[in-house]
């Protein structure tokens, strides 16, 4: 009988333990997600309701037009287009230069190989903020102030990308290159037909990582653009924040619009992001 009672008590405790764990997880999730939730709600409220006390926590009469206002009057449409162009150029450039450099370090022999590799890694030790004073001047001298080129060119190559691709290429079996050479594959054809397809996980990780970083850039576009025609989403949002209090719903709608592309990206490529993030944290 006592054994049975013990079993019942254990069972009860397990069940309550489970409820408790769910409760804890839910409370924490609500706290983490609340700012996002209230942003969406506020984007659908009338400004009077946002300033009210207590605040409305659910839009009973959603004002969808604030999204149209943010898109047109708030220029979010233009900002999005600019962000897409710049992000696309930066991401493509970073992936291509990383593949090329990574291949050289992994498959080719040449003088000063180690030194050059150290040079690549050294770029990781220079925070971008340190370089802005000279870079703004350089971009102006090149005539690229307030242009797409000015926004994108400084980021077309990264030490991180080259390092990531080199590591990925090094894991490929070494005989592969010899076998391909016997088949008459030169380095160029081997790179694009064999090595890159086999290193697809690394390419994917780098792509997502580069996209995220380029999309979220703030300081550089702030320094190098001067009008709405060239401003990216992140800078445009700052403009949107300075509206008067009776248009505050548009700011929230703009924030939601700025986030949507990344939500879509992350829904499809979460695995690649995790791989990109953890690439630096591997032991060794």
């Amino acid at each position: 009988m006592s054994v049975e009672a013990d079993a019942r008590a254990l069972h009860r405790r397990r069940r309550w333990g489970k409820v408790g764990r769910y409760a804890l997880l839910t409370v924490l999730a609500v706290i983490v997600i609340f700012p996002i939730y209230i942003t969406i709600v506020n984007s659908l409220l009338r400004p009077v309701d946002i300033t009210r006390q207590p605040p409305k926590l659910f839009p009973t009469d959603p004002q969808w037009h604030s999204y149209a206002d943010a898109w047109n009057a708030g220029h979010m449409g233009t900002y999005l287009k600019n962000s897409f162009i710049v992000t696309f150029v930066i991401t493509t450039g970073q992936v291509v230069t990383a593949i090329l450099a990574g291949y050289a370090f992994a498959f080719l022999d040449f003088p000063f190989k180690r030194t050059l590799f150290v040079v690549f890694l050294a770029t990781l030790m220079v925070p971008f903020e340190v370089t802005i004073v000279t870079n703004v001047a350089t971009i102006s001298d090149l005539g690229w102030y307030n242009t797409y080129a000015g926004l994108a060119v400084p980021f077309l190559a990264t030490g991180f990308g080259a390092f990531l691709m080199r590591q990925a290429f090094l894991t490929l079996p070494h005989d592969l290159r010899d076998a391909a050479a016997l088949d008459g594959y030169g380095h160029w054809r081997f790179l694009w037909r064999v090595a890159v397809p086999l290193a697809r996980p690394a390419v994917g990780a780098l792509t997502v990582f580069a996209f995220l970083a380029a999309w979220n850039q703030y300081l550089w576009p702030l320094l190098i653009t001067k009008d709405d025609k060239l401003r990216t989403v992140q800078i445009g949002l700052k403009q949107l924040q300075q509206v008067s209090i009776d248009q505050i719903n548009i700011t929230f709608a703009g924030a939601v619009i700025a986030v949507v592309p990344l939500v879509i990206l992350l829904l499809f490529f979460q695995k690649q992001l995790v791989r990109g993030l953890t690439a630096g944290a591997v032991k060794g």
């Binding site: 764990r21 006390q53 802005i132 350089t138 060119v153 703030y218 924030a255 993030l277």
Partner: protein, 316 residues
């Protein structure tokens, strides 16, 4: 086998003379070399122009003082400007604020990320939903988070008073609380990233270790202290180093929320550089500050690597 092929009497220990390459092979070598440099050139050009040149040029720029009136030539003052800027109270306060900001954001961010990762690392139905929610802030950017929180902290918005979080003067104008508010926004924005990092670190810890500890009668707390933490130390180490570098580079949230104020209480180094360069139009002084930021980040990263790596257990 080397001994059998030497009728000429060459001692076996002597290194064989390098076999001369056939012309065809030499050509191949040269072409490989050429190809290698060709592949590296795009990256090297970008690094040269936008990373290494600025580093050198900054030091040089710092030798020149800006003219008191625009249009006049700048003049060479050597290390005077370095002494002046780096010895100023404003610089000292800015460095202090930068460190304070890192201390407010890095440990809290890692602790929260690790805590959520441990909680989400259990066999429960629907745990995937919680993992998605915990990592959701990766979709936000610094600017999005700052604009949203900044607008929510606007004194006319009803949210903070309703939550009972009111200060006088309002939070972002409050010398005591502004930096804390910026730090909270930062921790929230990076939480998704930290969570993902910690969760994937946790996944690489073999489950048998936790099972074994459980069998040995270790409670949840003791398992966390004696199994999770040591096994996670490489990930935590990485997060501390990268997190500190990130904290030292924080800019967007400051620019959007406080512009370095109130009373320069959020004037971190990056904002100080920006403000000097853009608003005061003083590239010479900004260059000095940038050189300081570079060495500060470098020293800090090396120091952390030396101090922390010894405590990290890499054996798995």
């Amino acid at each position: 086998m080397a001994t059998t092929e030497l009728p000429t009497g060459t001692p076996a220990s002597a290194p064989a003379p390098p076999r001369p390459l056939s012309p065809a092979r030499r050509r191949l070598r040269r072409r490989e070399r050429g190809l290698a440099y060709l592949l590296l050139i795009p990256s090297l050009v970008v690094f040269g122009v936008f990373v290494f040149w600025p580093l050198v040029h900054n030091v040089y720029l710092g030798f020149f003082r800006n003219p008191p009136f625009p249009g006049l030539p700048k003049h060479y003052v050597g290390f005077d400007q370095y002494r002046e800027v780096l010895g100023s109270q404003t610089f000292f306060d800015s460095v202090k604020t930068t460190f304070l900001f890192a201390i407010l954001t890095v440990p809290a961010g890692i602790a929260l990320g690790l805590g959520l990762a441990v909680l989400a690392h259990q066999q429960l139905r629907g745990i995937g939903i919680y993992r998605t929610l915990f990592s959701s802030t990766v979709a936000t950017s610094v600017a999005v988070a700052a604009v949203v929180f900044g607008t929510l902290m606007n004194p006319s918005v009803g949210l903070l008073p309703w939550l009972g979080l009111t200060t006088n003067p309002t939070i972002l104008q409050n010398p005591t609380w502004a930096l804390v508010a910026v730090a909270v926004v930062t921790v929230w924005q990076t939480l998704g990233l930290t969570f993902i990092l910690m969760a994937s670190g946790l996944q690489s810890v073999p489950d048998e270790l936790f099972e074994a500890a459980k069998v040995d009668g270790a409670g949840a707390w003791s398992r966390f202290w004696h199994v999770t933490l040591p096994m996670m130390s490489p990930t935590i180490f990485f997060a501390v180093v990268i997190g500190t570098i990130f904290a030292f580079q924080s800019f967007g949230q400051i620019d959007i929320l406080t512009q370095g104020g109130p009373l320069k209480k959020t004037n971190v180094l990056t904002y100080y550089i920006y403000d000097t360069l853009q608003r005061q139009s003083d590239p010479g002084k900004a260059a000095v500050l940038a050189v300081a930021l570079f060495f500060l980040t470098l020293i800090l990263a090396l120091l952390q690597i030396r101090l922390l790596e010894r405590r990290v257990s890499y054996e798995r």
